[in-house]
Symmetry: C2
Subunit: 306 residues, 2 copies
DNA sequence: TAAAAATACTCCATAGGTATTTTAT
DNA sequence: ATAAAATACCTATGGAGTATTTTTA
């Protein structure tokens, strides 16, 4: 369908309304900051386009014709909507405003997003974060099909089509029941982490694979469906696991049954990064958001590695 | 107040909506019947003007940004109003349609306008005649200040600023009581019309002056406020007068008391003309209307003199 | 690698300016 | 006669075309 607007221009409508208002081509031209012939010519074209004389040229004043008046009323509506568009653009184009659909992996979200929400509300009060939790694959899909604008995940991941900005490094802790063989070791070494009572998250959680590779255990280990379940299983003496630092902080329930120990290798942990579609025009804003997360982070996490 | 539209163009909004719809610059360009680079460039300018990227360029498809969507919705409203304007223009620009404020002198209106209305409804069903009666001076004023679009008056008049199209010639009749000295004259001559019982309309009616000059009587004659009053005064035997042919036709009341006689001079009468502001752009339509009145006229009147 | 959008450039339509003529009162 | 709009004519902006490069998945 080709344009049916036939060269109609908002500027010409402004000219016409100025003439109607001033009842004088010269004054209307001055108000529109153009020369009188320029304005006259555009009015002439507009009248041709509409098929009707809008004005009756007479002395001492221009009069709008009856037909012209109906059209000028409608022209006013057109311009009102156009101004509405520009007003809207002025508001909407502010950076860090409006809805932002943000995802986070499930082993991070519950322990970090409350912190992030406080921070974002302080720094960017107009930014409306819409939060989602999921597993890495689901988040990546949601990102690719536009349900999400950005996501917090553990890197490395396959980054094709994505922009990635590391945000912080989150160490893992050894978590085991009091009295467990690992709870009493005076000096914990990485090789001690292998054991047949390692409890893992279900397939799909990136944390599962990271714990597995650090512990060098067999994958027939016991399964938990969430960090919370896992915590309760450990409290029940079912075994031990590795959990990210944010998820072990400030835990009251069953803290008397469980011991958390830092791992011996300071590199044992995961890097959390903010990702988004490389093509998203808000890239710069997302980078700024990541910068804020890097600078002002929870005490349990560390600066992201280069 | 200078333009606040800053170069916003309806065409660009159409381009943007085409892209949003097609999710593809190439197809959008084809739909708008321009080249892809031309459309891309206009979208780029529009995004700059609005201060926001409207689209996220990605494969396989273009996606509209959240901010862009709000703006595109508004753009759609702008275009809807613009199309409304063009639709309205198409209707409104038809000739012989819409309201037409027409005035007529009081000695003509009641006797001719019913005829004219029938005729106009048949020939121009979309023409909405709004009728007014008044004296010549009042009609001219109303015409000049725009309350009237056109008027039917007796010429000649001072025609500065006015266009005039004669419509028909209306003969005068001698009207007197049965038994009046003029009713019995076998051959009526113009000079017989002088008499001290001539009844005239009040000051302001053009017919008063025309009758006066034809009759060569003194202006201390009796006064009537309307043709109807005059008719009753004649029936009451108060005197005689000259009345235009249309006003004496088809009279039932008191017809048995009154005699109407044609005047000896075939030029004794008045020419009725349609007048309008010379500057009114509907001049051609008024002329066409006058043409209709010339061609299809009541039987009592004659073709207007050259 | 392939498809698609962005650049580079050239051209031309037209909005706009100045000077002047025409028109209306 | 005068004020104001229309016309004539010229300039320059910018929209649109073709050819090409860059980008993204």
């Amino acid at each position: 369908m080709v344009s049916t607007l036939a060269g109609l221009s908002l500027r010409d409508l402004e000219y016409a309304l100025a003439v109607a208002d001033e009842q004088h081509f010269g004054r209307a031209a001055a108000r529109c900051a153009v020369s009188q012939p320029a304005l006259s010519e555009q009015i002439r074209k507009l009248e041709g386009l509409l098929g009707t004389k809008l004005f009756e040229r007479g002395r001492p004043a221009i009069r709008t014709t009856a037909r012209g008046q109906a059209l000028l009323d409608q022209a006013e509506r057109v311009l009102a909507e156009a101004h509405g568009l520009l007003d809207m653009a002025r508001n909407v184009s502010e950076p860090q405003t409006g809805p932002l659909h943000l995802g986070a992996i499930q082993t991070l979200g519950p322990y970090y997003l409350p912190f992030l929400l406080r921070q974002s509300r302080a720094s960017f009060p107009e930014l409306a974060l819409r939060l989602t939790e999921g597993q890495t694959d689901g988040l990546l899909n949601a990102l690719r099909n536009g349900e999400l604008d950005a996501a917090l995940i553990a890197i490395p991941i396959d980054m094709d089509g994505l922009a990635i900005e590391p945000v912080f490094f989150e160490p893992f802790h050894l978590v085991c029941p009091i009295g467990h063989r690992l709870s009493g070791l005076p000096r914990l070494r990485l090789r001690d982490l292998a054991g047949d009572d390692l409890i893992l998250l279900e397939e799909g959680h990136c944390l599962r694979d990271q714990a597995l590779s650090l512990c060098q255990s067999a994958p027939q280990a016991r399964l938990a469906t969430s960090v919370e379940t896992l915590w309760h299983m450990i409290a029940a003496g079912e075994g031990y696991s590795l959990l990210p630092a944010l998820s072990t902080a400030n835990r009251a329930t069953m803290a008397d049954l469980i011991i958390c120990r830092p791992l011996p290798d300071p590199a044992a942990g995961r890097t959390i990064a903010l990702i988004w579609r490389r093509t998203d025009p808000r890239g710069a804003e997302f980078r700024q958001l990541a910068g804020m997360m890097q600078r002002d982070r929870p005490e349990q996490v560390q600066e992201a590695p280069g």
